[in-house]
Amino acid sequence: MSLVGAKVLRKEDPRLLSGTGTFVDDLSPPRCAFAAFVTSTEAHAEIVSIDARAALKIPGVLGVWTAADFADHPDLPGGLPDLERPALARNIVRFAGEPVAVVVADDRYLAADAVAAVDVQYRDLPVVTTIEAATADDAPVLFANHGSNVVTVVPTMDDLERQISRCDDRASLHLVNQRCAAVPIEAVACLADWGADGLTLWATFQAPHHLRNYLATWLDIPQTQCRVVAPDVGGGFGSKIVWYPEFFLAPLLSKWTRRPVKFAQTRTEAMMQMAHGRDQVHDLDIGFDRDGTIRALRVVISQNLGAYPDPTGVGLAVLTSWMAAGCYRIPDVSTSFRTVVTNTTPVAAYRGAGRPEAAYSIERMIDLVARRTGLDPAEVRRRNFIKPGAFPYETHNEPVVYDSGDFPAALDECLRLVRYDERRAEQAARADDPDAPLLGIGLSSWLEIAGFGPNGSLEGFGHLASWESAQVRIQPDGSAIVFAGSSPHGQGHETTFAQIASDELGIPFDRIQLRFGDTATVLQGVGTMGSRGVPTAGSAVKVASSRVLEKAKKVAAHLLEAAEADLEVRDNAFNVRGSPGKKVGWGEVAWASFQPLSLPPELQAGSLEERLFQESPNFSYPSGAYACVVEIDRATGAIDIVDMVLVDDCGTVINPLLAEGQVHGGVAQGIAQALFEAVVYEPDSGQPITANLLDYLVPSAPDMPGYTAGRITTLCPNNPLGAKGIGESGAVGAPAAVVNAIVDALAPFGVEHVDMPVTPEKVWRLLHDATAPERSHR
């Protein structure tokens, strides 16, 4: 029976459910000291003085260090010229929460005391927190040597004004895709232990080899002396693939204090220091004909990068531009963007990284076209979809060639599951009943780019390469170790990759063990991000496993004195087809594979091992159709999601339970962006006013609906598994479905758009500002 496609329970659960997982802060080696950071209270200021004398008097405080103490080391990696970020603020702080000094003490309470006792004097500088403020004529400049707050500008060759104005009609929207925080429930933590044999850094990170590569260079030590371990990691969502200063400073602190040094961020620190996501502003113009056919689309993007351009942050708008047209055949598409620094926390990847922004905008525009033409939103989608036979489909951007999909089928399945016609009838029936809550139905036919694997695709973000690695090793008893270059933080690699390997090798699932997350045991890896785990690493596991099986068959054939071609693997043994009972167990084959006297001449001892760097010819393009049904209380503006239907196409599904879990989690984050979450700054001071979980509204169980999941499958032709990836899907597809539903409910009041997060207050104001319900368009 094939395990790929089966609902297998997870290997990682027993340790996580018994409290015996190992997260970074759970580690506590003997003599472990604790680091804590003095962080800037100001969003933009000169540092006048740092007085650590009082802190140093506290018994148990080992030292206080400032930027000057790290002058021998470069700025953090990946920065742009003149815009680099120092590991500790040097002379100037550029966002509230930026680390200014670091203390090390015997325990975390003393470290906190010491932080409180360090006196930093600032001279305030004027603050900008928004793109608008940062690009104003007289805006204060964050980086004097750069001379402007605008970092990159990618103009368009043709703004399509001619094409748009030739259409029957046109519409435009100014959309804010607000800043969000990833909020993995485990914040950043690290433990550095630099002893005589070199450095080991345990870190909450999505790509340990990536960190090792840059950390060794930064410290100027050989990679052989620099081991990075990502043990159990408590969620990431993109925010744990950022060069946080703590990872670079903790090793030196360990070296200097000659003790292991641990750091564990508080949530308040995390809200100000972990990279944020989104924060794009879009100006959209669309030209269409009366029959709903879209002819031209112009997308102008502004990206708030926060205080220091992150290598991924700078690339977000590229991905948004690439995916701007979604799953529609639009003859003319024009994209342009600029990226801007402000006195806010740096912005980098957050689940979807640039694609949720694209999907949200195009899906809002489609609904606007429906509104203006009087057509049903489902019909406008259908009329403009790329046809199922049109793949591979070349888009307005050369690197972007959609691999496969069936957008009409996904939408049809979604409409069926949400009982679309029935819901529309109910909506119409309620229209004249002032006592009934308003009903709104929102659709989102989304598409994203994933499976970051084609050569060159990750190098641009500073990665070593874009392949992913797997190494499959057979033990002498016929059990198998699979080393994966991609290390997880909740995705369930131990289970899904073992399913893949088990199918290929014919070795039982329980006899396969995954290893990852440790640069000392996994030769090379790239990392887990961009929905690439299964398409790249999963494919590597598949191919490496099948190559090991080929060699194992040679051993088995030799032992059985049979032809390789006659062998089939069944029940953990190599059976000779047509000769019942003639077989040799995997264990015997494995044992023999280490004994030169038992091997055919072409094999050497230990050959049942294969290491592979799996390249991909192209990206993958997960897609789907989501529907959201909301009820809105006319008196309070309260929004209730009564139905959330999720039809995904992620190509091959390895484990439907885990795939659905990924969708749920992503959708929850998407709903949260639509309804609850926003990182907010006080504009004049740059003070964050959402820097804890009281003020930043991460939803809990009663805030979230149940989900109805459906599926269609078109295979990805670009990897051996046919998998497209699913980690980001929900976060890409959900926001538009929710906001489209709300705007649909408010249509009788003339509402055409409302920015996220759509709070009851915003809805209430819209309801009250509208003089009287207009006649419904449908």
Binding site: G19, K57, I185, G665, S700
Partner: protein
């Protein structure tokens, strides 16, 4: 702003040590602690039971949930001294008929109620606390009772399913192992 800021303390109050005697997972323990030590740190740093996690500093996330005399509480919001003379049960203290797991733990495994697993011990303890007072909660009751626990990975539906599974398979009271 910095000019008129209140003066920072130049030296902290010297630590006041207190003795805390409590029962943790059925075992009597005694620690001499800095009086300001939080219960979660007693559990994690002094008892070295690291299944209880910390996810926030405002009592919002519930990652630190344990049972205090059988009732689910947030151990980051309680001083260790407040547990003096009381019984604490952490996730490590759960034991039940499902290969050693309680129905709640097994429910989470069966229904994929966890991904990264960081919120999980807190969720499991909160659900255990719920089932101790309501052995057959509805979906709405489950959601309401988990209001103080945040999970960023699962989107909650599978957590709700997990707790329902536990309710249907016997809401065993936690046995504490010693």
């Amino acid at each position: 702003m910095t000019d008129d800021a209140p003066a920072r303390p130049t030296s902290p109050t010297p630590a006041r040590l207190v003795d805390v005697a409590s029962t943790v997972n059925g075992r009597e323990t005694r620690h001499r602690l800095d009086a300001r030590t939080l219960l979660v740190h007693l559990i994690r740093e002094h008892e070295r039971l690291t299944g209880t996690h910390i996810g926030c500093d405002t009592s919002n996330c519930g990652a630190c949930t344990v049972l205090l005399d059988g009732e689910a509480i947030k151990s980051c919001t309680v001083l260790a001294v407040q547990a003096d003379g009381h019984e604490i049960t952490t996730v490590e203290g759960l034991a039940g008929p499902y290969d050693g797991f309680t129905a709640v733990q097994e429910g989470f495994r069966q229904c994929h109620g966890l991904q990264c697993g960081y919120c999980t011990p807190g969720m499991v303890m909160a659900a255990t606390g719920l089932l101790a007072v309501n052995s057959d909660p509805s979906e709405q009751e489950i959601r309401a009772s988990l209001e103080g626990n945040i999970c960023r990975c699962t989107g909650y539906q599978m957590i709700v399913d997990s707790v329902r599974w536990a309710a249907e398979h016997g809401s065993d009271q936690p046995n504490t192992t010693g």
